[in-house]
Symmetry: C2
Subunit: 452 residues, 2 copies
């Protein structure tokens, strides 16, 4: 059934004098006089508003005049094509079916409020044009992720949130407990933390289910206040048995391109608006979609960077360097002018579970870098040799007992597997041109901030 | 690209003598002698196995003989139609491309292991037929939920997991903290708990986005060890502005029927198998799909139950009774022989945010009951009158300060909204005929249990 403003706007020619239309939404603006009033209505389906015209003697113009932006209304009327106006259609009201005004202290009084101020209002800020645009695109991106993996015959896995593993063995974790004074909820001497990744459990399901992906919340108790970090964020983590590194990079690249292409197509007006806020956004995304990915060995990348090392803040370019954003952006934007996958990183700064290459110093890992942001995806082939991974665990002083179930997977029919992780809010930032990650998630959680 | 065993089996007629097929998977069984071997291979796409025949002089039959169930293999061969066999196709192997055997202590040695024993092996149990069937269906149900709401133009919302609200104000919550000794991570005197529902935040987004749904993890720190309770479970919670109770019940009913119908169609062999374990499963689901829902007032339900009260364990049937499962099942199975929505419950045992009816004693809530299980969905119209909800909050001694942002939504353009919640594992249990909720989620968490 077509009943959203978005659907009306997509097919305006169908609706010339289409009567008995009912529009439900919220007032975006209200102007006019005692004889004619123009209400702009938004119904949440798009950032675009529908103009509703009230004229004639059967309306209470004093009441109409009193309705402020944010008020909810249900209006019946006739949908009329307006080929000479900026908007292709308008609604000529026949009845104000229902309304509820907003209190005078409604804080979204205009569209000029700063993003920073809006962060104090996570329950209301999606009613501004910019946050509405971002959150509509976020929802569509999530849908496209699920669609993509469904179409590729992946199974959706819910990795546990509360876990006794701490994943990569690095980073701060949150502890979970209940208020009881008796024995800890999950048992004596049992760690109970919020998962920092769904990958380890994902690997267990890839063995037997072959192709799985997780898409769930993950947590880091880092007390940093940057534009790129959240304590609670959503991750997409596919894991595939029988995939090598090259096939995995192709999958990551294809996934990004498909979901971004479909999201662009679905949100023309939202992207046009965001393109005004962040010049060049649409062009950047289209260029990404149309540029084949290049694969660059880490040693090559170091050579590329060494040639121009003076331009960087960190100029100590050598084998063993963990690339910073400035390096990543230079590689993808200036050297290769395309998305690139840097592969075969030194094992020293990569996780213990990555497949060790024959050179004895690098691992079969990749970082997918894109112009404008740098790293968007990280992944690897997994070490499937039990002795090799065990040796690495011991080298790094990781508690083996906790991980034995995971290490055992190598002994139970594990020829090969690979996977990668996408921070969903990073992806939302990239696609919407949002600069602060707090504006890419409905209710952001950072140290000192747990509003609502 | 067609390359899964499921895809092969769906179109066997296409594959008579189709060469250069590569199958990747795990051995389910291995029989034969030194001249011919039959390996049953499962690749995770279905519970059905593909028979692979090895014969001829170019195979190492001692090696083939040594491969145990659970071993991973990649095999090339010719796909051949076998119209006179139980399975429509088999693979005649031309090459064993790769293999990795399982260690002798691989615990999944046969298919006769008890479900209870398998619960100690959450990282491996999906490699048994029954858990594979349940987990494949779980994945498809999740996909169908997303597809359903996408098709209905709902926006997907991620409600926060760590929250300072405790939702319904009832039940035990988990506390979240980090290991630091300094100020609490989220600030002094700030509660930080794992959310018991995404609904309240969902309501804030329904005002402005109109139709949203959440699908995320929720938590209860209940120290109960029943077949129906988990400490961590996934909830689907749609919330719609401008929906009344009747429209909301229609949506809940339609959603259930569509996702179950599509899941039945996609998993014929899995349901056939589960139907052997749980006689009548398919018939029960088909009957549900084909039975229109009936709406029954709570007072009518009490009258119905009072007539036969002697058959119940709890025989004190009176206005004010919170229906137990025995009552629910009797109503939906015996009295109405169809799914029913019981509506207008006494407000005393329902949540504070439900719309108060004019009779002063009931609320516009519904429980959707289905034969075989009882309650599957609960929901309500929300109270959108600020004074009424405030009075109720005070009556119930709920901390108003914490909830002020939520109560304020009533002052900011709130004509009407409704929503409901589906416990996803309960749905998986109903659809797969699973009796213990620990078998309906990959890594179950209950008091005393946080395996892996």
């Amino acid at each position: 059934m077509i009943d959203s403003i978005k659907a009306f706007l997509l097919k305006p020619v169908f609706y010339d004098n289409w009567s008995d239309v009912e529009v439900k939404g919220w007032i975006a603006s209200n102007r006019g006089n005692k004889k004619i009033r123009f209400l702009e209505i938004n119904d949440g389906s798009t950032i675009q508003n529908l103009q509703v015209v009230f004229k004639g003697s059967n309306f209470d113009f004093e009441l109409l005049d009193s309705l402020r932006p944010g008020a909810a209304v249900i209006i019946k009327g006739i949908l009329r094509a307006t080929p000479n106006s900026p908007q292709p259609i308008e609604l000529v009201a026949s009845e104000l079916v229902a309304y509820k005004n907003v209190a005078e202290d409604y804080p979204i009084q205009n569209q000029e409020i700063k993003l920073e101020t809006l962060r104090d209002l996570p329950h209301l800020r999606h009613r501004t044009t910019i946050l509405r645009a971002i959150m509509l695109i976020r929802s569509t991106l999530a849908h496209e992720v699920h669609k993509y993996f469904m179409n590729q015959e992946f199974h959706y896995l819910n990795s546990p949130i509360i876990t006794s593993n701490d994943g990569e063995g690095a980073g701060e974790t949150f502890n979970v407990s209940d208020s009881s004074n008796s024995e800890p909820f999950f048992g004596k001497n049992k760690k109970a933390t919020l998962g920092v990744t769904g990958q380890l459990h994902g690997e267990s399901y890839a063995l037997g289910m072959q192709k799985i992906y997780t898409f769930g919340p993950t947590f880091r108790a880092e007390r940093s206040n940057t534009k790129k970090h959240l304590a609670e964020f959503w991750m997409i983590e596919p894991e595939m048995a029988f995939y090598d590194l090259t096939k995995t990079i192709s999958l990551a690249d294809d996934m990004l391109k498909v979901i971004i292409r479909n999201t662009l197509a679905k949100h023309k007006s939202e992207f046009e608006y965001l393109n005004l806020v962040n010049q060049g956004l649409i062009e950047r995304l289209k260029s990404f979609i149309n540029s084949p990915i290049k694969i660059v060995d880490y040693t090559q990348a170091i050579d590329d960077l060494a040639k121009v090392k003076d331009i960087f803040e960190n100029q100590d370019i050598h084998y063993g360097l963990d690339l910073a954003t400035e390096h990543e952006k230079y590689l993808t934007e200036k050297v290769y002018s395309s998305p690139i996958a840097v592969i075969n990183f030194p094992k020293d700064f990569k996780a213990f579970y990555m497949k060790q290459n024959d050179d004895g110093k690098s691992v079969a890992a990749f970082d997918l870098l894109v112009p404008g942001i740098g790293e968007l995806i990280g992944g690897s082939q997994r070490e499937c040799d039990y002795q090799k991974i065990l040796t690495r665990v011991k080298e790094l002083n990781i508690d083996q007992a906790d991980l034995q179930w995971y290490l055992d997977l190598r002994r139970f029919g594990h020829i090969m597997s690979s996977g990668f992780g996408v921070g969903f809010e990073r992806l939302v930032m990239y696609v919407t041109g949002t600069e602060n990650i707090r504006d890419a998630i409905p209710y952001p959680r950072t140290t000192g901030n747990i509003r609502m």
